[in-house]
């Protein structure tokens, strides 16, 4: 009986840890632990940073990380700020995304107190067998759908990135041009050549 109580106490302390923790994704996989730590220490003391492993790929998937703050309020503040304002970690312009952590995100979570897993083997003669096979097929379909979604999302991200890169280069070119005109005196030269008045510098 005391054993059960201990388990429950342990689980409870785990849950409070979960409540203190912020789940952050859309993070570059290149970010290191210290980068994440320094990024979120702006909000308060960071107690722990756990990177969620990307076991099954694809490798382009943004990294996910669990950031444990000192208190629940701090965690809430982080989520609020990060979801309100675009927050960049280790790169621009793609911001990170934050939400409350869930117990299932922790790979070293303790088991739910008092739970015993029940199982039974079904053979084809079982009346439910057919249904079970159908559920299996559907689950298979669902994981295929999830994989497709992930791929699609990556494509969309890719597209947006490309589009933004284009915008940036055009902007850059434009600003470059303006820069040349004003700083290097091209405008004045041309104005002089065509006998025209130019800009505030002549005034």
């Amino acid at each position: 009986m005391t054993n059960r109580e201990e388990e429950e106490a342990q689980y409870e302390s785990f849950l409070s840890k979960v409540r203190r923790t912020v789940y952050v994704d859309e993070l570059t996989p290149l970010a290191s632990k210290s980068v994440v730590e320094s990024a979120f220490s702006q909000f308060g003391t960071v107690k722990e940073v756990i990177f969620l492993p990307n076991y099954l790929g694809p490798k382009e998937l943004p990294a996910c990380v669990l950031v444990e703050m000192e208190s629940e309020q701090k965690a809430k503040a982080v989520i609020e700020t990060v979801s309100q304002f675009p927050f960049m970690v280790a790169g621009m312009p793609r911001p990170v995304r934050a939400s409350a952590a869930r117990p299932n995100m922790f790979s070293d979570r303790p088991k739910k107190p008092g739970r015993v897993i029940q199982f039974r083997w079904m053979d084809p003669s079982d009346p439910e067998f057919d249904k079970a096979q159908r559920v299996k097929r559907i689950v298979k379909k669902h994981s295929a759908e999830a994989a497709f979604m992930i791929r699609k999302q990556l494509e969309e991200a890719e597209e947006l990135a490309k589009q933004q890169a284009e915008t940036v280069t055009t902007h850059h070119k434009k600003f470059d041009l303006i820069d040349k005109l004003t700083v290097e005196g091209v405008a004045q030269k041309l104005a002089g050549r065509y006998n025209m008045k130019c800009g505030p510098s002549h005034r």
Partner: protein, 496 residues
């Protein structure tokens, strides 16, 4: 020298007290000793020994912190316990113990130490302390080589935490006595000891005798330990002789001053010769207990490198990802789907050992926002390729129903290798790095919120919009999926 005649128990010709230390302060009839000889092995104060506990497969290891004889002639030892990682498995948290690591009991709770009869001792055990504590003299090469176990942390039975700090005194004994002995002191003691000639290492015949006795011996163990063990009944079902001993097989032979008992078990009363055979069998066909799995991952230590490797091992953390790569290469990996998402890795391991009768290494894949929250997935590494294939075909042909009507799905549909990501989509160099001032570069590397008047802000908002869109898509998809599952369940209930 006293040669007491036990009134409670029969007289034991194998027992002899060593140097007398003192008599009891309150009760003058109690005499304390510094050493004794039992079955040709000399035990000194603060030696470690194996103890047999009735109803438990594993022996317990404890430190003798007091030895005395009562007025009734009972020979008693006060034992401070070590915990094996198994014993405190649920309190390890993120600490990954070594297979030969022990934890010193401490705290105020009962169960840190016990008074036991001398004849519950099975044999001597060499335990070395690898703590960085200043009070702990570093172990000698010889000690390290002969060590069967090491400890560098304590386990507080009251607070249930593992700690690197050692209190000044544990169970009324100053902490220095728990650390490694200073060499000169040791030598002096040896000279002073006026015990009869002692064989400090033992022959096979003695071992045999010891094992035959196993079943009869009883011992009071720490109640805490019992309690900790209580929730892992499966451990007792499978006598864990094999894995542990097998991995130590080599050590048995190379250790010249080895302690006599590997791991006595009450469930296993085979004589030593049989045991020796067991030592040479491969791991795969024994012990299906998932808790024991760590043992055979560490190859037996080679004598020469041992002193270093123990220290190294104390620091090193086992890397699951390395293991995973290896398992994919040897085709021992199976992906389990449709688990209840809140299952833990250990629960999946237990499930496999019960339902599939296979010893596996499992890891739940942590959920994230781009995964289905209703489907738990786990990576399961089997011992052999054959075992993995067998499990796959069983899961495909038959159907393993988990508690809330979830048929388990096994698949091998995973990428061969997940490489490192070179660059990250969506992070770009806004201008040429070379032209950028150092200040600006710093700004990129440190985290910040964007300013609304900056072009980056505009782009970041675009990303946010994309995120919101994909979040919405996920919710829609999950809704649809939940509906599909529900339809099946409903028709199921209707018929059932």
């Amino acid at each position: 020298m006293l040669q007491p005649k036990g009134e409670g128990g029969e007289e034991n010709p194998n027992f002899k007290w060593g140097l007398k230390k003192a008599v009891g302060r309150t009760d003058k009839t109690v005499s304390f000793y510094e050493s004794f000889t039992y079955e040709d092995i000399e035990y000194r104060l603060f030696d470690c020994a194996y103890f047999q506990i009735q109803g438990q497969c594993e022996t317990s290891i404890g430190k003798l912190i007091r030895m005395y004889e009562t007025s009734a002639g009972e020979k008693k030892v006060k034992v401070l316990w070590f915990f094996r990682p198994m014993d405190i498995r649920s309190y390890l948290r993120d600490y990954v113990p070594q297979w030969d690591e022990l934890f010193l009991a401490c705290g105020d709770d009962p169960g840190v130490y016990n008074i036991n009869d001398v004849d519950t001792i099975l044999g001597k055990c060499s335990v070395v302390c690898l703590s960085d504590d200043q009070r702990n003299p570093p172990p000698g090469r010889r000690e390290l080589r002969n060590a069967r176990y090491f400890f560098s942390r304590t386990f507080d039975t009251k607070l249930k935490i593992i700690s690197e700090d050692f209190a000044d005194a544990i169970a009324g004994v100053k902490v220095q006595d728990f650390f490694n002995k200073r060499m000169d002191k040791e030598a002096l003691k040896r000279l002073n000891s006026n015990a009869a000639p002692v064989k400090s290492f033992c022959s096979e015949s003695r071992l045999e005798k010891n094992y035959d006795r196993d079943g009869k011996l009883t011992c009071k163990t720490s109640p805490v330990k019992k309690e900790l063990l209580a929730d892992r009944v499966h451990v007792k079902k499978n006598p864990p002789v094999s894995a542990e001993i097998t991995s130590r097989g080599l050590k048995h032979k190379t250790t010249p001053l080895g302690s006599p008992v590997g791991s006595g078990s009450s469930g296993d009363q085979k004589p030593f010769k049989r045991r020796k055979l067991l030592l040479n069998t491969p791991d795969s066909d024994c012990c299906p207990d998932p808790g024991e799995k760590k043992f055979n991952k560490n190859p037996p230590l080679v004598d020469k490198a041992q002193s270093q490797s123990i220290v190294e091992k104390a620091r090193q953390i086992t890397n699951f990802e390395e293991e995973l790569k290896e398992a994919i290469k040897t085709e021992r990996l199976v992906l389990f789907e449709n688990l209840e998402p809140s299952y833990t890795s250990v629960e999946v391991e237990n499930l496999c050992s019960q339902a599939l009768k296979e010893r596996v290494d499992a890891k739940m894949i942590p959920a994230n926002l781009v995964s289905n929250p209703h489907i738990g997935r786990a990576l399961v590494i089997f011992e052999t390729k054959k075992a993995a294939e067998k499990a796959m075909s069983r899961l495909a042909r038959g159907c393993l129903m988990l508690d809330d009507q979830r048929p388990l799905l096994g698949s091998r549909d995973f990428p061969k290798e997940v490489g490192e990501c070179g660059s990250f989509t969506g992070h770009q160099r806004l201008v040429d790095r070379a032209q950028m001032s150092i200040e600006k570069r710093k700004a990129v590397s440190t985290a910040h919120c964007t300013q609304p008047n900056h072009i980056v802000h505009e782009m970041a908002v675009e990303w946010k919009a994309l995120n919101a869109k994909s979040e919405w898509k996920w919710t829609r998809l999950l809704e649809e999926e939940a509906k599909e599952i529900n339809i099946i369940f409903r028709s199921k209930n209707a018929r059932g």
